[in-house]
Amino acid sequence: MPSVEVVDLSRLQFAVTALYHFLFVPLTLGLSWILVIMESVYVMTGREIYRDMTKFWGKLFGINFAMGVTTGITMEFQFGTNWAYFSHYVGDIFGAPLALEGLMAFFLESTFVGLFFFGWDRLGKVQHLMVTFLVALGSNFSALWILIANAWMQNPVGAEFNYETMRMELVSFADLIFNPVAGPKFVHTLAAGYVAASMFVLGISSYYLLRLRDPSFAVRSFAVAAGFGLASVLSVLVLGDESGYTTGEVQKVKLAAIEAEWETAKPPASFTAFGFPDMKAEKTHYAIKIPWLTGLIATRSVDTPVTGIKELKQEHEVRIRNGMKAYAALQRLKSGDRSAEAKAEFDRLKDDLGYGLLLKKYTTNVVDATPEQIAAAVDDTIPNVAPIFWSFRLMVGIGLWLLFVFGAAFIILARRQLATNRWIMKVAMWSIPLPWIAMELGWIVAEYGRQPWTISEVLPTHLSVSSVSLGQVMFSLGGFVVFYTALLVVEIYLLQKYIRMGPSSLGTGRYQDEGAKS
């Protein structure tokens, strides 16, 4: 059995590398479409400035893309290196979307990205636009398959345990791809990426406008970003709401943690806007509540209750005790008793097997768990509420702020009042980091809120890790910290260098500060 330290460090490593990877993914997802928009205008109007815009923002896209690829390989490797038991236990299902991601998306994106950069003189206008489009399509498909895989970790549908092979196996591929969690999650994440990319372009264009550098180039970029960003931020909010609704249906624990809902309140449940959740006392201090709101968002009704944490724990205790019986039934099958009765017994209980496995943390035999161990396992079923509660509120707050920024930018631009409203450009510039913060917080809510499971109610996190030594994980984690820090410094250095150079970095001779060394 893996030690607690190996489990904790493996989790830390996955969290750090995943959050780091997601610094680069959103810009790839969104900027690729912004490039498509700019290049489409170029193809339709034939005006060179739009080609230059595509090339310049494409340069920044390229600097970011390289980091996305670099850090993406890490994610694939880690399932095997650090989460070997996970890979064995659910690879039959989880591996499929990852392989499809390669076949259908990553190939497309990576094969055409080279042509995007180097094919300008070798392709016709429309051909090149097609190439840019395929890069955008590939990167977005890539997100689709990864999020289908992730949705399955949240809501493992279409699969069943096979005691012959000791793993989960695919029962319905259609259930896997039409997982109700996957759709809203995909669009929500994608739109969030579009918002980030729009903020990036809007903020940097504002920086040029404030300094009156290449205004015709900057204002056109600003316009594309404001329009695309406004549409995207609206989708994020609407689909975030949809995500909240599906979470309410299939991940009651996560919802209760987000809302710090300790007791099952009389419906419709109120929304705790502010407060300090206390795990020990199982209450929220200084709570400020808005009546009805949670009930409306999570259940879209006024009479469906939102189950509270205390009640969920009682349900979990029942399932853990059932899980012990399921584990005993499984042992019976494994010992060679393949009678119809033994199979029927296991089939009856197997949905709770995962809850039984939670006890493995305390006793390897599971079936001999003491009441104290069961109580400890029940406590484990609730993730730490405060980080989830706060991450969620910050994320939503940022989302609403960004709606204001894009809305204001769009209106001011449409009224042609940009020159007299310099504040919006300053606001846009300083808001650049916000979408990234919101998205990282969103992932914390989604993944930390899934604990103690890697696969909800099927496979506990502490069982998922590889049988590797603490030294090995420390070696890799140390390496990641060193490499990732160095690469981030380099990436930010290059980005700011090219942002400062602006379109003059293209060497066309048409922009300000040409002749400054590149």
Partner: protein, 381 residues
């Protein structure tokens, strides 16, 4: 879902699919890795190095996806192999990963700053990103032929009982050198076709030297396998048409066992024959028929992967400490349904991938020259 093949047949098909993806990776990304290894030799000046880098620049990224997809396909079709190999060979794979980090950023960043030290540093990075993975993959294949120490417990959790340094044994190191020499040769054959002038000349020379070294080392490894290494053989197992855990079969070690398939299925000898035949012809034709030489080099590289694959079949990862736990194409596989679904995905998407990859190569064909690099210094790698 259309069930065309039975489970046993699908298991063999998936062995072939993963093999095909590895061949695709070795052949296509092989010349990118080889270019990285050759960079310090073929490119003496910044411009020469940019010629070499831009010869692979527009296409290396897509080629790398053969590796990523081979990984993904292994995950989907052989989850136990993915789990056991990656966690068992932990340090080796982390080193490969760290080395691979340097490639995307190396290519994209090195020419974005006008500074000799900056560019030299990234060039060494690209060199390491070519050399380390090539060496480790060779060493890993060598260890697969030897068998590695691992076993499973009752929950099918794998335990690797060897150490990182045990992987660096003489035979595995020889396999690693075969791999390095092979891709150095392969990269050189690619560069001689795609460049002219000094870079071209050096590439021809490198192809000849590396090619001869590669064939000699490959022959030596073959003799070693035939005379000094035990193979493994399945002596009994449940029906290949059923799903079963690896521990349920019986396996014995046999002397010179890795040659058994070659006498049983005579046609498999084509693989080692192709290694030497195509390799020698490529060396002979490099001046007169540069394109043919590259194609022959592809055949030779593919031959090496297939030679090892044919020798091992049905074994994927033999266990030296508990042979019954060995992972094979019969018992390390996913369920019938998953293999079926993913089979159709491959049938649909792989031809499309090959089609558009060929188109991209066609668009970007022709030689990269120093003049071309000079004229496009703002946009090229």
């Amino acid at each position: 879902m259309i069930y065309v093949f039975d489970y046993a047949t699908l298991k063999v098909i998936w062995w072939a699919v993963v093999g095909l993806l590895i061949v695709g990776f070795a052949v296509l990304d092989g010349w990118d890795l080889g270019t990285g290894i050759l960079l310090p030799y073929v490119g003496r000046t910044d411009e020469e190095r940019r010629v070499a880098l831009n010869a692979v620049g527009p296409t290396w990224e897509g080629n790398q996806v053969w590796f990523i997809t081979a990984g993904g396909a292994t995950f989907a079709a052989w989850p136990l192999v993915y789990a056991t190999a990656f966690s068992g060979l932990y340090i080796a794979l982390i080193l490969v990963l760290f080395a691979l980090f340097l490639r995307p950023v190396g290519f994209d960043y090195r020419s974005k700053v006008h500074d000799a030290r900056w560019r030299n540093a990234w060039d060494w990075g690209i060199f390491i990103a070519g050399l380390v993975p090539t060496l480790v993959f060779g060493v890993a294949f060598g260890n697969l032929l030897l068998g590695v120490p691992f076993h499973f417990d009752g929950d099918q959790r794998s335990y690797y009982t060897g150490s990182f340094f045990a992987l660096l044994n003489p035979f595995a190191l020889l396999a690693g050198l075969v791999s390095v020499a092979m891709l150095t040769m392969h990269g050189a054959f690619y560069l001689q076709l795609r460049t002219d002038g000094a870079v071209h000349e050096r590439s021809v020379r490198a192809a000849r030297v590396a090619g001869l070294v590669f064939l000699a080392l490959f022959a030596a490894a073959g003799v070693w396998i035939a005379t000094g290494i035990d193979g493994y053989r399945i002596t009994g197992m449940p029906s290949a048409d059923s799903a079963f855990a690896p521990g349920l079969k019986t396996v014995e070690r046999v002397q010179t066992g890795w040659l058994a398939n070659y006498s049983k299925y005579r046609w498999t000898i084509a693989a080692p024959v192709a290694v030497f035949g195509a390799g020698l012809l490529a060396l002979a034709f490099v001046r007169r028929l540069p394109t043919t030489a590259l194609i022959l080099s592809c055949a030779s590289v593919a031959g090496v992967v297939l030679t090892a694959g044919f020798a091992l079949f049905p074994f994927i990862m033999p266990s030296s400490s508990q042979p019954a736990s060995s992972l094979t194409a019969w018992d390390a596989v996913s369920s019938y349904r998953t293999l079926q679904v993913m089979f159709w995905a491959v049938v649909i998407f792989l031809p499309i991938i090959i089609l558009y990859t060929s188109w991209v190569y066609r668009v970007m064909r022709g030689k990269i020259t120093t003049e071309h690099v000079r004229q496009n210094s703002h946009s090229l790698y």
